[in-house]
Structures are given as C-alpha cells and as structure tokens.
C-alpha cells in the first residue's frame, strides 16, 4: 500500500467514457428476479424468464470483466485506480460479512433465547404451559414444539466426519492460494499455476463433499430445510457458505485461466488478489460455521 504515498495527477485517473454493461446487468437481474418471483408464485413462464435473465447475466459478466481486463492489460489503470479497486473489494467483502452476521445472529438468538423460552425458561413459563407443555428446550432441536408441518430428524451431521475433513481442505486451500501468490510475486509461473490449480481442485472437492453431506442429511437422516429451526439455520448458513465457495472457485478458475494466458505481473495483479481475499473470507466464515453450527 506504499503506493498511496505517491501523488497522482487527476488527469491520469481513468474514467471510462460510458459503458452499457451496468444497464445490461440491471436488465438481466431484473429478469432473474421477475422470473424467480413468478416461478415461486407458480406461473409457467417463470423458468423461461429466469433462464433468459441468467444467460444475459453471464454474457454481461464476460463483457464487463472483459472490458476491465482489456483496460488493465493495456496499462490504462494507474496506482490510484488500483487503490480504488482494492477499497471497493474490501468493503464489498465487509458487506458480505454482515450478510452472514444476520444468519449467525438468528442461530444465536434461537439457541440462547427462543428455544429456552419456549421450553419455559425466564419469563417463558406461561408460553410453555399453555402452548406446548410437552416441549423441552434442547439443541440440536430434534423435536420441534409442534411436530405438525415439520420434518423430524433422527441425527445431525457430526463435526468430526465430513465437516472436519472439509475444514482441513479449506485451510489447506488457503495455504495453496498463498503459495500461488508467492509464486506470482517472485515471478515464477510454475509455482503460480501449480498453487492456483491445487486451490481450485480443493475448492471443487469441498463443494462435492458438501453436496454429498446434504444428500446424506436429506435421505439418511431426515434433516431438511423443513426440520424446524435447526434445519433452517443449518441449511441457510452452510448453503450460503457453499454458494460462496462455488463462486470463489469459479473466480479462482478464471484467474487461473488468465495466469495461463500470461496475465498479471508481480506488481500488477489486483484481480488475483481480490479473488484471494474473497477466498480467505469464505475460509474464515467456514471456521465460524465449523465451531458454531457443527461443533458446540
């Protein structure tokens, strides 16, 4: 970050003349939302609108990032633009942290307040007695206060099986990602590409194992989204995390492809770093999940 000490001239700050990509982004997301909403409402046209929006969205990603990559490779961006990108990415990741915070908050609230109160703790005595006198506070919550409408499950995913191995995989991938970064910094394409390839493969293995875990939960354990507050917090927390790992893997794979093409130099590789930051972020979220969702 020593770059920020240099004074830049305003005229050299790259301001693109105009761009159609943001508008296309809005149109495509609008189509996905409208398609998704009509699908949820049960209209037949929903999936078509949703798919059309998705295709346009992917086209937009190629176009928008394509422009940025071309500009970057052409040397249009000075160090000050680079700092803007860094700040943008850092604050974006912070906003993602707060998104996960909402779901962690729901988990803590359910475990510390709503379930004990339903079980009669604190001032919940009357609630328990008049609503569900049979209900006893517990975690994991195998028996919901009202069994009607909820899938009861027999067992939960223990911390020391797949989740433990996934923890090792993700932590290792954090290391291999740093290995690739080191390779990039010393100018060794061999280390860069090897480190990045291993990271991407570990990401794919993680997602595959997570998918297998879900299959097991649904079919063998009867643990589903519908399994009361346990199923809800379990699947939304791990599900959004898994989605982020998937995105991160796609991002790193893109970066790998760019490295193979010979993009990035040892001092100019913000695209690489942004994806690496993102990867470390999903790593840290996972630690939280491992501790609070699977373990304690």
């Amino acid at each position: 970050m020593s770059k920020s000490n240099i004074t830049y001239s305003n005229a050299d700050y790259y301001v693109p003349d105009s761009s159609r990509w943001p508008l296309i982004a809005s149109v495509s997301i609008f189509a996905m939302f409208v398609g998704g909403a009509t699908l949820l409402n049960g209209a037949n046209i929903g999936p078509y609108v949703l798919s059309a929006g998705f295709i346009l969205f992917v086209y937009m990603l190629f176009g928008w990032f394509g422009d940025v990559i071309a500009e970057s490779e052409a040397g249009t961006y000075n160090g000050q633009v680079d700092v803007s990108f860094r700040m943008g990415m850092a604050w974006f990741i912070f906003s993602e942290v707060m998104f996960f915070a909402a779901f962690f908050g729901a988990l803590y609230y359910a475990r510390m307040y709503s379930i004990p109160w339903l079980g009669g703790a604190g001032s919940g005595g009357a609630t328990n007695e008049f609503l569900w006198p049979e209900f006893a506070s517990a975690w994991p919550l195998f028996n919901t206060p009202d069994s009607y409408g909820f899938t009861q499950f027999k067992e939960v995913i223990g911390a020391w099986g797949v989740p433990f191995w996934n923890t090792l995989i993700l932590l290792t991938s954090g290391v291999t990602c740093t290995w690739a970064h080191w390779g990039l910094k010393i100018g060794s394409r061999k280390h860069l590409i090897a480190g990045l390839s291993v990271t991407v493969i570990l990401g794919i293995i993680f997602v595959a194992m997570q998918a297998e875990e879900y299959r097991h939960a649904y079919h063998a354990l009867g643990l589903t989204l519908n399994s009361g507050i346990y199923g809800a917090t379990f699947f939304l927390l791990t599900g959004f995390h898994g989605f982020h790992v998937t995105m991160g893997t796609i991002m790193l794979a893109t970066i790998l492809a760019r490295c193979i093409k010979g993009h990035f130099t040892h001092e100019n590789h913000f695209g690489f770093e942004a994806c690496a930051w993102y990867w470390h972020f999903v790593d840290v979220v996972w630690i939280g999940l491992f501790i609070f969702v699977y373990w304690v």
Partner: protein, 533 residues
C-alpha cells in the same frame, strides 16, 4: 428529460454517448447525480400521492373512499417508496454531484459501478410498484414486514423481497463508491479534518449502509425461505420466533434512520455558516458527534420493540443507550445555534429551510426522547405519536434539508439563480402546512389513536380533519418546487461562480455550471482552507 438537461453542458469534449444513450450509459458523476435527483423527485410524487390517499381516507371517521386492505397497502408502499425511493436516492444524488467537487477529484472512484447503482433503481421500483396490480394487492403488512402478517401477502410477496434485495444492492454499491472516493480521491492538501461536513457525514452514512443493508437482505431472505421453502426462522411452532425478525430488522432499521438523517446534518452544517457569515462553531466536535451517533445507532435497535416482551435487562439497556443518543445530537444543535449567535444572518431560501430544519428536527428529537423512555413508550407505541415523531425527523428533518441543499446548490448545478420569490413562497407554505399536518398527530397519539388503521373513533375526528387539510396543503405546495426547478433549469439570472457571498469550499471555485469533468487538474493546495473554518 435528456433534452432539458443537455442544454447546460456546453462542453462536449470526450467521446461520451449522446441522446438517451448518454443517460443510460453515463459514467459521469454529475450526470448520475442528476439522474438520482430526478428519480427521487418522481418517487416523492408517487409516494406523496399515496400519502394524499391516506389523508383523504382519514379526513373523517368511517370508511369513505378505499377499502382497508388497499389503505394498508398505501401505508406500506408510501413508507417503502419514501425511504428507499425518495430520500436515500436523493442523498446519493447529492453525494454524486457534490463530493467529487468538494474534495477536488476528477470523478467518483468507480464510475461504472456508479452507473450501475443508479440504473438498478428504476428496475427495482418497477418491481415494487407493479405489485399494486397483482392478485392479492400490494404488500400491506407495513414497511417493517413483520411476520407472520407479511407472509400472508399474495403474489406480491416475492416481488417485495426481491425488490428489497435489488435496492439494497444499489445502496451498498453507492456507499462503497462514496467511501472509496473520499478515502482515495482527495486532492493533495485536503486532509480528513478539512473535509466539508457533508463529506464527513456521508462517509459515516456509507459505513452505516455497508454494515446494515446486508442484514436487511438476510432478514428478508429468511422471510422468503419461511414462506416458500418450509424453514422455521420466525415460527415458534418450529422453534423459531417472530420476535427474532424484529430484532434482525431493527438492527438494520435504526441505523437506517440515521442513514436518512446524517447527510442532512452535513448540508445544514454547510448552509448555516454561509448565511450567518461565520465559520461553523465546533467543526471537530461535529465530526466526533456524527461518529458517536453512528456507533450508538447499532446498539439501540430494540427501542422499537419495547412492548414485545423483552427481559427487563434488555428494556433497561436499550432505554439507556437510546437516550444517550440525545447527547451527540444535542452537541450538533448547540453548534448550529452557536454558529448563528451574534452573526450577521440573511434569510435566503436555503437558510430558511435550514432554520426550519434546526427547529423542527429538534421537536422530532424531543418526541424521540420521550419514546425512548421504556415505560412511556408502553403507552405511545404504535400510536400516532410515533407517526408524528418520525415525520418531524424525516419530513421537517431530512426533506427540509434536501430542499435546503437543492436551493443552495441549484445555481451551481444549472448556472442560473432560481426564482427567490417563488422559493420563499414554497418555504412558507411548506413550513406552515407541514406543522398543521403533523403537529396535531402528537395529540392524537397521546389520546390513544393507533397507527395503520383506516378508521378511528369519533373523538379523534377534529384533529384528523386539521391534519388532512395540512396534508393537502403540503402536497400542493410541493408542486411549486417542481415549477421552480424547471424554471431554473431553463433560464434565469446568471449565477456567479461563488453564488453566495463568501461561500467556502472547492465547489464554489468551479464555474456555474461546472465543466463536465470536475477537477481535471487538482486544485491548488493553498486554496483548500477547510470548508467553513
């Protein structure tokens, strides 16, 4: 739209698109600022029309014009549109126009993202407004979207959720852009403690947005899965809790009300010293007070839920933190008054609106203080007293500051002076009618009239009638504003660069209207005196 506004950008250098494509694809902070401000104005009138329907129905007791379901839709949509469609985009519009000029930057830090954060909004609001025509009607469970009521929304439900996600993305992108701009694009010599207060209040608003909007996104996502995918976040039968939604929502919701007001503090802090011809009293205490308010805003949320049955320790904690906010808020009001003390004031329209702000916002602050006292709130919660409170802080607070700022900088934006006589009429009609509209609502609330109900007991009839008359007056007065803006865009006395005698700040060193790209050369560090000091 594009026609009117293209006139006064006489400098067309650079290869930017023309005609409608210019506005669709622009990456220029001034173009985007203009788009935001016009969008916000349109939303003011759509949301205002809904308010007129509400006041019409409440003119007399009994059900006269609309059915209760539609009435509830109006209450819900009015709030969502005014908050997310009118006030927030207006602040982003001001930020876009003013921040690069105030800090001596060529443009915003991330120009393409800037375009995107605007061009999300028309789509998001098309989604939201389209729900008015859906089976089951528009959302009617209140802007706070409490379950289980909101889960009874008809086809509108997923559109509501996705519209909130979409607007949230726009706000976060806009906030990231402001923060990156201020931290990375300041001209040499523009140190943090020389920033105009509008810039300071906006960075802090940006932090609030980035930290709180994702929490709202999480909350509405849980609503969506509760409705469609069988989760039990907000269902006690499954071990969840409807009250949990309220906690998550208000963790976002209280910072949100400060998102709506902090930029107003910044604008008023720019206007009062200009027309008092005195430096702002206590610049650094203003900065620290803003920071303190922002910090406290994250630990007061449950004052919106005193009556849901929290443990006593919770009631006490949230009462103490809430009333604590009055301290930094008081510092601000004190500083504004101290700035005016023994000064030579003149009362052009921006100053009138700023003075209106100081007095009337303070009334809203006092009623907030009353509501912050737990046992008192047990009585006032969900009555018209709350409605009076938040309209004093939001209409005579946020909206008055918007008007003040619009008149203050309109000559800079358009290159013409607005019509001062008409503008004074606008102020006086607004300030009188808005008090006729909202002041009686305090009495209604104290007497026990509940909010969000289309009918009421006869003893509330007189004050409601007065309030509705005030409402109509306020609504009509705002048409005057549109007339003034259109006239100002089309012509009028030529504005000087400085516009207001002795005005401080870099924006006044540029021509009126400013060139298409603000500071292609960084301003002379010697000219950066530090705003109003």
């Amino acid at each position: 739209m594009s026609e009117v506004a293209t006139h006064h950008h006489d400098d067309h250098h650079g290869a930017h698109a023309t005609g409608i494509m210019r506005w669709l694809t622009t990456t220029n902070h001034k173009d985007i600022g203009t788009l935001y401000l016009l969008f916000s104005l349109v939303m003011f009138f759509i949301g205002g029309t809904m308010a007129m329907i509400i006041r019409l129905e409440l003119f007399q007791p009994g059900l006269q014009f609309v059915d209760p379901q539609f009435y509830n839709s109006m209450v819900t949509m009015h709030a969502l549109i005014m908050i997310f469609g009118a006030v927030m985009p207006a602040w982003t519009g001001f930020a876009n126009w003013m921040i690069p000029m105030m800090i001596g930057a060529p443009d915003m830090a991330l120009p393409r993202l800037n375009n995107w954060s605007f061009w999300i909004l028309p789509f998001a609001f098309t989604m939201l407004l389209s729900t008015l025509f859906m089976p089951g009607g528009a959302p009617a469970g209140g802007w706070t979207m409490y379950p289980p009521l909101v889960l009874q929304t008809g086809d509108a439900f997923p559109f509501l959720i996705f519209a909130v996600h979409f607007m949230g993305a726009s706000s976060i992108a806009g906030a990231i852009n402001v923060v990156a701009t201020v931290f990375n694009m300041r001209a040499p010599g523009m140190t943090l403690m020389k920033l105009p207060l509008f810039v300071w209040t906006w960075i802090i608003t940006g932090f609030l947005l980035i930290a709180s909007i994702p929490v709202l996104a999480g909350a509405v996502t849980m609503l969506l899965t509760d409705k469609f995918f069988g989760t039990a976040f907000f269902s006690a039968a499954g071990g969840g809790d409807p009250v949990m939604f309220q906690h998550i929502f208000w963790f976002f919701g209280h910072p949100e009300v400060y998102i709506l007001i902090l930029p107003a503090f910044g604008i008023v802090s720019a206007i009062i010293p200009t027309f008092a011809r005195k430096p702002l009293f206590g610049y650094s205490s203003m900065v620290y007070a803003t920071g303190a308010i922002a910090f406290l805003s994250f630990i007061v949320w449950a004052h919106h839920m005193f009556t849901v049955g929290m443990p006593l320790a919770g009631e006490l904690f949230f009462m103490y933190t809430t009333v604590l906010i009055a301290v930094p808020t008081g510092v601000k009001v004190f500083n504004w008054v101290a700035t005016m003390w023994q000064s030579s004031m003149t009362f052009e329209t921006p100053m009138l609106f700023a003075l209106g702000f100081v007095i009337l916002f303070t009334i809203g602050g006092f009623s907030g203080l009353m509501l912050g006292v737990t046992p008192v709130d047990f009585q006032y919660h969900d009555t018209y007293f709350v409605v009076a409170h938040f309209h004093y802080v939001l209409v005579t607070g946020a909206v008055f500051a918007l008007m003040a700022g619009a008149y203050f900088w309109m000559p800079k934006w358009t290159g013409h002076m607005y019509n001062e006589t008409l503008a004074k009429w606008h102020f006086w009609l607004s300030v009188i009618s808005v008090n006729v509209l909202f002041f009686p609502q305090h009495f209604l609330g104290l007497a026990g009239m509940p909010r969000r109900i289309p009918d009421y007991a006869v003893q509330f009839a007189d004050f409601n009638m007065v309030s509705s008359i005030g409402g109509l007056g306020y609504g009509i007065s705002q048409i005057l504003f549109v007339i003034i803006v259109v006239k100002c865009i089309r012509g009028g006395e030529k504005a000087t660069d400085e516009v207001w005698e002795g005005a401080q700040g870099l924006e006044w060193t540029l021509s009126s209207p400013p060139p298409y790209h603000s500071f292609t050369e960084a301003p002379d560090p010697e000219s950066i005196t530090g705003g109003h000091r």
